[in-house]
Symmetry: C2
């Protein structure tokens, strides 16, 4: 009758599922780390799904823009899908800028088994890397509402993991994430 | 990097997952049958998730209306979520009017393991039942674009299962669905 996650969580919850939420600026390294973590988890025969913020936008949120309301709704939808997967035993690696603390906290509160990974690099390092060319576009006036440039980013206050990708290797970051995730599986 | 389902299907596909898609008019019996099927599958210790069209709209498609474009996009989103769950070993029972043949076929083509259940009852029987009061509202001019009334319904041409709910019991319908689903699990 209903897909309300909370009401049914106890029916089918598979204890191994959880949400690992990678938040940070564009270029901070979310995709790189989450993909490497995915490889490690698959090698351990765990069920893993990556939900990438940009990719999911195409599938679930074509209608939404990059205003606060649009971003909040997009994160809410990703959280809904991540929750459905996690309660069925999947380790869900969400990789999304997700700039607002309240949106991330809402998902943590709703689902419980939630590991927040703050992928942290100084803005100037992200601008230097600029893997998607977004900072260049913003500088040229071709892109508005870019997080860290003319849109806010609210860093986590006490994330389970913080990866300082300007100072540590991808391997270091992956090890940190696995240390937080594997005991929960 | 991407959540493209097709590209990754072979990575994590758990052979037991599939999509069971209940289509039919409002009041035909989709929710009743899918809930009863859910109970039977849970009793067999299978992982099951019900995605109800109305409930999912609240979570994923608040923005969408009931035009053809709005309905198509809603069905596409449900299909995307169902596919993510199914490829992780979940039996996903989708209960949605899903009036357009092309939308249902798109999901069948994309995911392969797809059982279409045509929940079939004559319109006058559905109007008589009217569990959500929608037909009454439409008659009073308070609701537009109601499938079967002033919006089209395209019945499946060769569904895996057809439940004629005006002539068979819920138990009969459930037995039919299980006969099609269980051999695939």
């Amino acid at each position: 009758m209903s897909t309300d996650i909370d009401a049914r969580a106890t029916d089918t919850l598979d204890g191994t599922g959880l949400i690992v939420w990678f938040t940070g600026l564009s270029g901070a390294g979310k995709t790189t780390i989450s993909e490497a973590v995915r490889t490690e988890l698959l090698a351990r025969h765990l069920r893993v799904e990556v939900l990438d913020g940009d990719a999911v936008r195409k599938d679930l949120s074509k209608d939404l823009g990059f205003t606060r309301a649009g971003r909040d709704e997009n994160i809410r939808r990703i959280g809904y899908v991540a929750g459905l997967l996690a309660r069925n035993g999947v380790i869900v690696l969400v990789s999304a800028i997700s700039p607002y603390r309240a949106g991330r906290e809402e998902i943590r509160q709703r689902f419980g088994r939630f590991v927040e990974v703050f992928v942290n690099a100084p803005l100037d390092v992200c601008v230097e890397r600029d893997p998607k060319g977004l900072y260049k576009k913003a500088r040229a006036g071709l892109l508005m509402n870019l997080t860290g440039v003319d849109d806010p980013y609210e860093p986590p206050i006490s994330p389970e993991v913080e990866c300082c990708t300007d100072r540590e290797s991808v391997e270091d970051s992956v090890t940190k994430v696995l240390s937080a995730v594997l005991p929960l599986t």
